[in-house]
């Protein structure tokens, strides 16, 4: 019984950590180049929305995922134009776009399905199912926990290691980090600051869109207003906790999701003396605690969130 609880909890945490990790890694890379993109929240939501709509009308989950990626890319490209090319304030732009996205998705959703929430909300029939990795998944105990997840999960983990390697062991990573520390110097040295940022944001768009799609066509089979519920922001906090290191982010997201998984289990148990709202609050409380603990001495890329204008 106990082992089941533990294995269940670990399994859930791995599931839950996937969207956080994906968003976090993408944002980590972008922040390493000096851009703070609060709009991951909105892009994620847009991804969720797009994936659902496309899945609903085409019944094709693959295309739905791709269109989520596309939606994310469009959002992030818009953000890039405003913050990289026009050098607008990154925080305010990201925030504004988030508000915009919540409004747009809710509106378009209702435009398609009617203005009042019906008792049975529109949903898709099939969701993305976890895959089973051959051989490895047949191992007792560990096989169930580790090797029966959505393909996205494995991609996320691979992404984590790749990101770490790229950032610290390659020339590309060096350039990205240089931009994040001092874009003027990087520009002088011949690094194309704006293009690099655009590319990173493009990648982020795709990844974050896909992460969002997980919510609406994998974990659930429907779309809800403001479905992301602040998860994008939580990812940003986790990046700070991880001191902008992909491997630490992997560990951090796992710990966070573990707590989240436990919270959900408690909720499911329906314990009367433990208010449900407290469980629901837990992720946000934990985030605050994370920020308290890690946010103090966190030294991020020196040029984070500062606008960059070429001086020639």
């Amino acid at each position: 019984m106990v082992t089941e609880l533990i294995s269940g909890a670990i399994y859930s945490s791995i599931t839950l950590l996937t969207p956080l990790l994906l968003v976090g890694l993408a944002e980590l890379l972008v922040e390493r180049s000096g851009i703070l993109n609060l709009n991951v929240e909105g892009s994620m939501l847009m991804g969720a929305f797009t994936a659902f709509m496309v899945a609903y009308y085409t019944q094709d989950l693959g295309i739905a995922t791709l269109s989520a990626a596309l939606a994310g890319i469009i959002m992030c490209m818009l953000f890039s134009i405003l913050t990289v090319s026009l050098s607008l304030d990154q925080m305010v732009t990201g925030l504004a776009m988030n508000i915009l996205t919540i409004g747009v998705t809710s509106y378009l959703y209702r435009a398609s399905f009617g203005w009042y929430v019906s008792p049975i909300p529109p949903h898709i029939k099939e969701t993305i199912k976890p895959i089973e990795i051959p051989v490895l998944s047949e191992m007792p105990f560990i096989g169930d926990i580790l090797f029966k997840h959505m393909p996205h999960t494995y991609l996320a983990v691979i992404f984590a290691f790749t990101a770490w390697w790229v950032l610290f062991k390659t020339d590309w990573g060096l350039r990205i980090r240089a931009i994040g520390e001092d874009p003027q110097v990087a520009d002088y040295l011949g690094i194309n600051v704006n293009s690099t940022r655009y590319i990173l944001l493009l990648i982020e768009g795709a990844v974050v869109g896909i992460a969002g799609s997980l919510l609406s066509i994998a974990y659930y089979n429907m779309f809800l207003d403001n479905m992301t519920q602040g998860r994008g922001y939580i990812a940003i906090a986790l990046v700070i906790l991880a001191r902008w290191n992909p491997l630490l982010l992997l560990a951090g997201s796992f710990l966070f999701s573990l707590i989240d998984a436990i919270q959900l289990r408690i909720l499911a148990l329906g314990l009367t003396f433990f208010p449900s709202q407290l469980s629901l609050m837990l992720p946000y409380l934990v985030t605050i605690i994370i920020l308290l603990v890690a946010g103090r001495k966190a030294k991020g890329p020196a040029a984070l969130a500062k606008p960059f204008k070429k001086t020639r």
């Binding site: 915009l100 409004g103 809710s106 509106y107 519920q229 208010p275 629901l280 605050i288 946010g295 103090r296």
Partner: protein, 338 residues
């Protein structure tokens, strides 16, 4: 001008949605500003006004208080709960005590994120946002369990006794005395921000923290002060909304199409952080919200338009800022070099 573009885009969306934009806009403006509905507009604008005035203070200091929504909720909840226990206190005093409580509640809610930002530089956008969710869940808990109205099937408190309702200013409408308080706040805040040493300190802090320190300003204290002020206003808005309109606390107190706390952010930015413009904008947006409901009823247009409008407006305003800045600096570069 930015607003104009937003409207054009809105018209586009409307047409796509199958509604006639002209008719829709007619109903929008009728619903917002006609004699019949202007009071309603003011009603909607009241909480917006309070919150955005408070936000103007922190935004000027470049402290981004996104937690107005949560502070609003806490203020409202405090007001309702206290109200239920003050049945025997004479009329004017009870109101004042309740309002003070909601002010305190809002400020308290802003306190922790303020401290985290002031002492440790922790991003207040994330912390205040987290606190919003925590606030809503806390309120939800309180409304489901200890303070729930046994007679109602919704999670809400019992209706407050009539003596605790805010007096109506214009008979026949829902317009209550809260609007008077709001109107007093406008010049008060304008004076505070533009004409006092405190306001100047905030401006300097907003320019750069290092400069503020150089100027001898206690940045830590100031950040906390500004957040508290903004929290107080948001809390007050909650209390007034409870006492004046809802007469109880419910979870839907902040309209989901355009939550007061978040909409106020747009209002403050639109008003260029200037209290007078901000006030005008809040009335305008109150009208938009109100009008979109009419628009929805009469012209079959989706209620979500208000949300979209706002966001569009913010983005265009910011582009406007950028263009203006660029234009102005080009202009001044010529002057600079004489």
């Amino acid at each position: 001008m930015a607003i104009g573009i937003a409207f054009l885009l809105g018209a586009l969306i409307l047409t796509v949605a199958g509604a006639d934009p002209v008719v829709a806009y007619y109903w929008l403006f009728y619903g917002a500003f006609s004699e019949a509905s202007f009071s309603e507009t003011l009603v909607r604008a009241t909480p917006l006004l309070f919150i955005s005035l408070g936000l103007a203070v922190t935004f000027t200091a470049r402290v981004w208080n996104i937690g107005a929504e949560g502070q609003f909720y806490i203020g409202a909840t405090f007001a309702a709960i206290l109200g239920l226990h003050l049945k025997d206190v004479p009329h004017p005093f009870a109101l004042i005590i309740i309002l003070l409580a909601s002010v305190a509640g809002g400020a308290a809610w802003a306190f922790l994120p303020a401290v985290l930002r002031a002492y440790y530089g922790i991003n207040e956008i994330i912390t205040t946002l987290m606190f919003n969710y925590i606030a809503i869940y806390t309120a939800s808990y309180l409304l489901h369990n200890p303070f729930r109205d046994p007679a109602s099937m919704f999670p809400e408190t019992t209706t407050l006794p009539e003596q605790l309702w805010m007096p109506i200013v214009i008979p026949g409408t829902r317009l209550h005395a809260g609007i008077l308080l709001a109107f007093i706040s406008i010049p008060f805040l304008y004076f505070l921000l533009r004409k006092t040493a405190f306001g100047m300190k905030i401006e300097i802090l907003g320019s750069s923290r290092r400069t503020a320190e150089y100027a001898g300003i206690d940045a830590v204290k100031l950040i906390i002060q500004s957040m508290l002020i903004s929290g107080m206003f948001a809390g007050l808005a909650g209390g007034i909304e409870v006492l004046g309109i809802q007469h109880k606390m419910r979870l839907e107190i902040s309209p989901s199409i355009s939550p007061y706390g978040y909409t106020a952010i747009a209002v403050t930015l639109l008003g260029y952080l200037n209290p007078i413009l901000v006030a005008a904008t809040s009335i305008f947006l109150g009208g938009v919200i109100n009008g979109s409901m009419t628009m929805h009823r009469m012209a079959n247009v989706p209620v979500g338009m208000a949300g979209i409008f706002q966001a569009l407006i913010i983005i265009f305003i910011m582009i406007g800022y950028y263009l203006e800045d660029k234009f102005a600096s080009k202009l001044l570069e010529r002057l600079k070099l004489w």
